[in-house]
């Protein structure tokens, strides 16, 4: 059982756990766009980050909700919180254990690069990936570019086969 602990309920805008498919992503992202009170450019960044992160759960969660659909219904959770000077978009999902070190390495690389280097990495990565499955890496690079902030990730072992992966992207209010 996965528990989502909301430390500061007054800061939480939305929180969900369950299967995440394209229609939920679309509905929720538009809800967020309409209900978050902030500068239009900030709301736009939250919208982009939310879609990219939740689609990663949808596609790449190791636990898929097969009753709903065969593809793109990954089980996981998301939350959006408003802090004093930023908005935090967080997702969590189960991953195969062997994917943990790759995600850590990719995020460490993204967090170590400046904007121009990140853009170069995005161009190189985008030109190399296949069209059927471009993978989560380029989406994480895009999160680094859109937010201008480091990505905060956590990977906890669940058993010998699976780990639980959480990632937070912060969008500054100014």
């Amino acid at each position: 059982m996965i528990m989502i602990y909301i430390e500061h309920p007054e800061e939480n805008i939305i929180c969900y756990h369950g299967p995440i498919n394209i229609n939920l992503v679309s509905f929720t992202s538009n809800y967020i766009k309409k209900h978050i009170v902030a500068d239009a450019s900030v709301v736009g960044k939250i919208y982009k980050v939310f879609i990219e992160l939740t689609q990663n759960v949808s596609y790449y969660s190791a636990k898929q909700y097969s009753k709903l659909r065969a593809f793109g219904s990954g089980i996981g959770w998301f939350r959006v919180d408003e802090k004093k000077d930023h908005f935090a978009i967080t997702t969590g999902n189960v991953i195969l254990k062997e994917h943990g070190p790759i995600l850590k390495k990719n995020c460490a690389e993204i967090n170590s690069l400046g904007e121009s280097e990140l853009r170069k990495l995005k161009r190189v990565t985008r030109s190399q990936v296949g069209i059927r499955d471009i993978g989560a890496h380029i989406g994480l690079i895009q999160m680094g570019l859109i937010t201008g902030n480091p990505l905060n990730l956590n990977i906890e072992s669940q058993n010998e086969n699976y780990s639980f992966f959480t990632i937070t992207a912060k969008v500054n209010k100014r």
Binding site: I22, V25, S26, G44, Q55, G72, S127, I131, I138
Partner: protein, 128 residues
């Protein structure tokens, strides 16, 4: 050659509206693009461009009016622009206009990255 039309679907706003006109060569993508399995949506569009501009050597004006596209879609947009670059190199007339929202702080970098990757010139036009 037939026109390629995909109407906007209000219940599925993650698919853009498509209007490719084979007579005029004016081709438009309008709305947002973050569907799952984007290659299934974009493959007929790429094939249309290949036939229209690489095989029939017809001119193209591509008007991109996308207010949001995810990284999956950006990969397919890159393929679309690569086809147009090949057409331009073959001597065909190619014009690309990117319509953008002025309060989007990321779009200019996105377009510049596409220009760097493809070698195409993309004209940026603010949306009204």
């Amino acid at each position: 050659m037939k026109n390629l039309i995909v109407d906007a679907i209000p219940d599925s706003p993650y698919y853009p509206e498509v209007n490719f006109n084979s007579e005029t060569g004016i081709c438009e993508l309008i709305g947002e693009s973050y569907m799952e399995e984007a290659y299934k949506f974009y493959t007929p569009l790429l094939n249309w461009f290949k036939e229209h501009t690489l095989e029939l050597n017809k001119p193209v004006t591509l008007n991109l009016k996308l207010t949001y596209f995810n990284t999956n879609s950006s990969r397919l947009l890159l393929d679309m622009l690569d086809i147009l670059k090949k057409s331009q190199e073959a001597g065909n007339e190619v014009e690309i206009n990117w319509f953008y929202e002025e309060d989007d702080p990321d779009v200019k970098d996105e377009v510049e990255d596409f220009e760097i990757e493809t070698g195409l010139q993309i004209k940026m036009i603010p949306m009204e």
